[in-house]
Symmetry: C2
Subunit: 368 residues, 2 copies
């Protein structure tokens, strides 16, 4: 199928760019000597993740138990569920473990450690656990120098229902960095914080074989990863405009885009209309303040236009006289997204494109 024959809106995935992005991360982590545990939350596709794990020893990271189900059904068994666990999800985790998945959970409080031990006893299960460590003050976790870290570790280690495996952290604040120097410093802060937490556990006589860190920016900007046993990253497979604005990739590395059609011209109001709106693009305005930038449907070359506002199925693109000429009603355009995770999640499948042709269709594992 040619791109011009696709019913829009549709999610395109450029195979060449995907392969380059995957290769770049693999080469970087090989150079640093640390295995990659890819985060599947962006791609949510077994085909994409198989590309990412090629030649890697480790498992995967998931953001939902639905992803764990989907990837287990496709042969992935070593799974880290990297969102703080809730008591109501432990039965599901136990059933995944009975089906052969080595699912590790994450928590950061004594209350949750207690609840996990209790549920484990009721379910006849034992849950491997990483303690989430806060290395940037941005979201979840316990700080490496907080006495509660060792307290949580003791509870986990002392219970038959939980097995302390170590620590994990995610420097989400790396998305707020403004220069390569800041990114390098944030990567070192993430590494040092995680290693310090593992050391604190070990000094208390507790096991901490796993030291898991990661985000796409810190994984690509880390200069050393001493003491780290695995790196997690997800958006690097597709990249997006937020990553490009951070300097983590070039705009020409963005592998995912939404194909749309020009469905109206309003020269009287200075815009043209496309059939991709808030649903197809997501309402993530990223750092640019728009909803995505237009590109040629085949070459993906930028057109110098952006989606300024959206309704559910409409996008409004400010346009001048010459734009109405080059983009007649019925013309196709690609929209490069601000935030690949959010935009891809609006779609059921990817159309893999190569040289302007659709060569494959990959299903996504959406929802919970």
């Amino acid at each position: 199928m040619r791109i011009s024959e696709i019913e829009t809106p549709a999610l395109l995935l450029d195979r060449g760019r995907l392969e380059r992005n995957v290769g770049r991360m693999r080469a970087r982590l090989e150079a640093l000597g640390v295995p990659l545990r890819p985060h599947v939350k962006t791609a949510k596709s077994a085909e994409a993740v198989r590309l990412a794990v090629a030649g890697q020893p480790g498992g995967i990271t998931v953001s939902t138990l639905k992803e764990a189900e989907y990837f287990l059904d496709r042969g992935f068994t070593d799974i880290l569920y990297a969102v703080g666990i809730a008591p109501s999800k432990l039965g599901h985790v136990a059933s995944l473990r009975e089906r052969g998945a080595e699912v590790t959970i994450v928590l950061d409080s004594a209350e949750m450690a207690e609840a996990a031990a209790e549920r484990a006893a009721a379910l006849g299960a034992c849950f491997p656990v990483l303690i989430e460590v806060d290395t940037d003050g941005g979201r979840a976790g316990v700080r490496a120098d907080d006495a509660r870290l060792v307290e949580v570790g003791r509870r986990l280690h002392g219970s038959a229902g939980t097995r302390l495996r170590g620590v994990m952290t995610h420097a989400g604040r790396s998305y707020e960095c403004r220069s390569p120097a800041e990114l390098r410093a944030m990567a070192e802060q993430e590494r040092a914080g995680a290693v310090a937490a593992a050391e604190a556990l070990r000094s208390a006589g507790l096991p901490a074989p796993v030291v898991s860190v990661g985000s796409t920016p810190t994984a690509l900007f880390a200069e050393r990863l001493d003491g780290v046993t695995e790196v997690r990253a997800g958006v690097y497979m597709f990249m997006d405009r937020v990553m490009a604005a951070l300097g983590v990739c070039a705009e020409a590395d963005i592998a995912v885009s939404v194909l749309a059609t020009v469905i109206g011209h309003r020269p009287d109001l200075g815009y043209l209309l496309i059939d991709a709106g808030g649903l197809a693009l997501s309402k993530d305005r990223g750092s640019a303040g728009d909803y995505g930038r237009l590109a040629d449907p085949v070459s993906a070359a930028p057109l110098g236009l952006a989606v300024a506002s959206v309704n559910q199925e409409h996008g409004l693109v400010p346009a001048a006289a010459a734009d109405f000429e080059r983009l007649p009603i019925g013309a196709s355009v690609r929209i490069h997204p601000n935030h690949a995770c959010m935009t891809a999640a609006a779609h059921e499948f990817y159309l893999l494109v190569e040289d302007g042709e659709v060569v494959e269709r990959w299903q996504r594992c959406n929802f919970w």
Copy 2:
């Protein structure tokens, strides 16, 4: 199943509120003497829309051809596809018509009228068409006093492949109104503009039996609908915080919410964490600037807290000491959304709740 047993995040639909909202719109339009053609873009569920059409003579409005497929498979045949058509979609429309769907398309330009006629000839099809009219300068359409309206009408009427059925308009700017008086004025502007467009066609000897208008705010605030033959509205079934902020409903009318679990406490940083983030809530910040307001999981009574920021699977809720006490780790909360269409679209199905119990599960028809 009780609400406390649901794996989160999950989309709840309060049956009592849904029925009240549906009844309110029906009563209002019965009083005005105009049939309702519900827009299914918000609910995307046959069960919800069957409630909405009970006792109504007309068909439905869809925002995607996927919705048209889904509703045709469930017995709905009179379908208006209310997004400006693109040439690449006409084959799909023709196949739906062959399967028994009376699909009407919408367009607003001579170019698209020409393209539709050409494709109709190639497909051996004939497409009923409404001309989209711009009554508020907000998006698509041709103005009632623009000479191109009659030009488009003539092309449609003069082609064997298209059948001119009349006009449609949507006063999306009603979402920007600030008082009941402004809403009433916008409803009258929408009505008058659509009727004027139909009159312009008729004065030129062209048929315009259909005059279709609508948005939830204008449908509920219209004082008269003389000359209008049908009203479209969709979000009224669920309502949301944008509608409440407009004065179109009360917060206690919002039928849809996301159930989430408290997965972390950060008293040191002044927030608690829930397992509903940008994916489960959408990134629509509505008019409030947050990502949704917290409510009791069973009673739906407001808790006075809001989701201030989101990552993919995390929501951060600014909280004080008393909030950590009343919302311990593992507690459930409901989040009332800013924009029901966007939030519901993030989920695969609704859990219908009645008196704190899940009584049914309704599938949604997502994607394209």
